[in-house]
């Protein structure tokens, strides 16, 4: 753009500000929240067990392992094998390794999370109108150049993430059908685990389908939407979700972790699932 030489105030140092409020609290909460989730998800992925609960006819699959591409014969696996033939024998295998990159990439490139982790992890900036590390100065590249220009792949990771949500809804539906005590067929039922998994799919749906990329694809790219009632309705709906995107992002993150923990604790026998009907 057109510019003249600007004599500007000196670049501030990290953390320098006149703000008198607790500006550091939000980035600290984000740092701790995302770190805790990352550590738990990694630990849970490496466990490679306690992800499918079938006691009492239940059918609860942890969302960290869904879709279960490979698994034991009694598990709802998609491929009839315990692990891929190409998997190196020296490397430990977990079915979660094959799928977690999908939702992980969705979160990593999400517009909300980008803003949040740039602040919390890279202090870029650490908070609004608070100084950031001086060494960056005018070398700042933002998302204009490599590597962060690759964040533009967000739209490509959205579609697999949307497919995951559909699979998780199927899992929640499957969790409504309990194997009869005599082993002949299934019967409809709802346990606490069913509700946990159903809520998990719903929250992840609210997060995924309310993302900025979905909003753009569904109609945001258009300048004129009059005369397109279905598209307008979809755009309005996605915009409603998008307005609360941060809330969906956090609630769904916590709940997906809890859903895995719930199934895991059931498998370990820490508590038993309460069958509502």
């Amino acid at each position: 753009m057109s510019h003249a030489d600007l004599r500007l105030p000196q670049v501030q140092k990290l953390g320098q500000t006149s703000r008198t409020d607790v500006w550091w609290l939000q980035p600290l909460v984000v740092l701790l929240g995302l770190s805790a989730f990352g550590v738990y998800a990694t630990w849970a992925a490496f466990q490679a067990r306690d992800y499918f609960y079938h006691t009492g006819g239940a059918h609860y699959l942890s969302p960290f392992y869904s879709p279960l591409l490979y698994g034991a014969p009694h598990e709802p696996r998609w491929i009839d094998a315990t692990l891929p033939s190409w998997w190196p024998s020296w490397m430990p295998f977990s079915a979660a390794f094959l799928i977690l990159a999908g939702p992980g990439a969705m979160r990593f490139t999400c517009y909300y999370y980008r803003g949040a982790y740039y602040k919390a992890f890279w202090a870029d900036p650490i908070s609004c109108s608070v100084g950031e590390p001086k060494f960056r100065g005018e070398k700042y590249r933002g998302e204009y150049r490599l590597p962060l220009i690759l964040q533009n792949i967000h739209r490509y990771v959205f579609y697999p993430a949307a497919a995951f949500v559909i699979v998780l809804f199927y899992d929640a539906f499957r969790a409504m059908w309990f194997t009869r005590p005599d082993g002949n067929g299934t019967e409809f039922g709802v346990g606490v685990g069913t509700l946990v998994l159903l809520l998990n799919a719903t929250l992840l749906g609210g997060y995924t389908f309310g993302c900025h990329c979905a909003r753009h694809q569904i109609g945001g790219y258009l300048d004129r939407m009059a005369g397109r009632p279905i598209r307008t309705a979809c755009y309005t709906c996605v915009s409603w979700l998008n307005k609360r995107h941060m809330g969906w992002a956090w609630v769904s993150l916590v709940w997906v972790g809890w859903s895995d923990a719930y199934v895991r604790l059931l498998c370990k026998g820490v508590f038993t699932d309460f069958r509502i009907f």
């Binding site: 753009m1 057109s2 510019h3 003249a4 600007l6 004599r7 500007l8 105030p9 670049v11 501030q12 500000t17 006149s18 703000r19 008198t20 409020d21 517009y111 909300y112 980008r114 803003g115 740039y118 602040k119 870029d124 900036p125 609004c128 109108s129 608070v130 100084g131 950031e132 960056r136 100065g137 005018e138 700042y140 590249r141 933002g142 998302e143 204009y144 150049r145 962060l148 220009i149 533009n152 739209r155 900025h212 990329c213 909003r215 753009h216 945001g220 790219y221 258009l222 300048d223 004129r224 939407m225 009059a226 005369g227 307008t232 998008n242 307005k243 995107h245």
Partner: protein, 248 residues
């Protein structure tokens, strides 16, 4: 009647620094009232820019306790008066004197943005027909009062001094209002990508937080523009399908 201390940035150039002023704080006062009172009582040379005193002219932008705000819209009862209230000029623009900064750079940037270019009139009398729902989307952007608080808080300008390469949130809002206008036929995406440097924005949402008109700058203007730039320059699949799309 309570007294309050105001720690105000005073002077120009290297000799500028904070100076404390004590004045009465009465019910209903805003920070701009206090500054005027200090001018009247203690220091008639204290410079500040102001005009409407109603949050509509965007002149009295400053940083109050480190937060970019309009002085005329910041009530004293929102602030802790037991400690000095810190008032500083905006930090993303050249300092002139006391609380005054030179914001003329913004107007030069705005001038460089491609202007509104409507399609051919829809009716023989030279008028157009547009639907209310299509106009509503850009109405929000027209609330901007050009206070430049969003430019001030944006770390790309404030900390990284990317003025030569980055237009800033105010101008992304302005561009979004033009780009998304149902009558407009101009394409400013290349301009936003290159000269406007929209890729430098890393979505801190600070601009949205400080906007006194509550424009959802990041979610409704910047991110949609970023997505359109991605459509146009970074997404081969979208570019391929655009070949088959009818004119919007």
């Amino acid at each position: 009647m309570a007294q309050a201390t105001f720690r105000i940035w005073k002077g120009q150039g290297d000799s500028a620094g904070f100076k404390d002023f004590v004045t009465d704080a009465t019910v209903g006062m805003v920070v701009l009232d206090a500054v005027h009172q200090i001018q009247a009582e203690s220091d008639p040379t204290l410079a500040c820019r102001w005009n409407c005193k109603a949050g509509k002219c965007g002149s009295c932008s400053a940083e109050i306790n480190g937060n970019p705000r309009l002085m005329c819209m910041t009530r004293l009862d929102q602030l802790d008066l037991t400690v000095p209230v810190i008032i500083e000029p905006m930090k993303s623009f050249p300092h002139v004197r006391d609380l005054v900064t030179d914001v003329s750079w913004n107007f030069r940037v705005k001038k460089a943005i491609k202007p509104f270019k409507p399609r051919k009139p829809d009716a023989p009398d030279g008028t157009w027909r547009i639907q209310q729902q299509d106009v509503e989307r850009v109405q929000e952007f027209r609330k901007c009062i050009e206070c430049f608080l969003c430019q001030d808080v944006c770390h790309v300008l404030r900390d990284h001094h990317k003025h030569p390469e980055f237009a800033g949130p105010r101008h992304f809002v302005y561009t979004a209002a033009l780009e998304m206008h149902p009558l407009d036929t101009e394409n400013r995406l290349g301009q936003m990508k290159d000269a406007g440097g929209i890729g430098y924005c890393n979505i801190t949402k600070c601009c949205t937080k400080v906007c006194p008109e509550h424009i959802t700058i990041t979610d409704n203007a910047i991110i949609p523009l970023k997505e359109r730039v991605t459509d146009e320059y970074y997404d081969p699949i979208t570019r391929f399908f655009k070949i088959f799309k009818t004119n919007q």
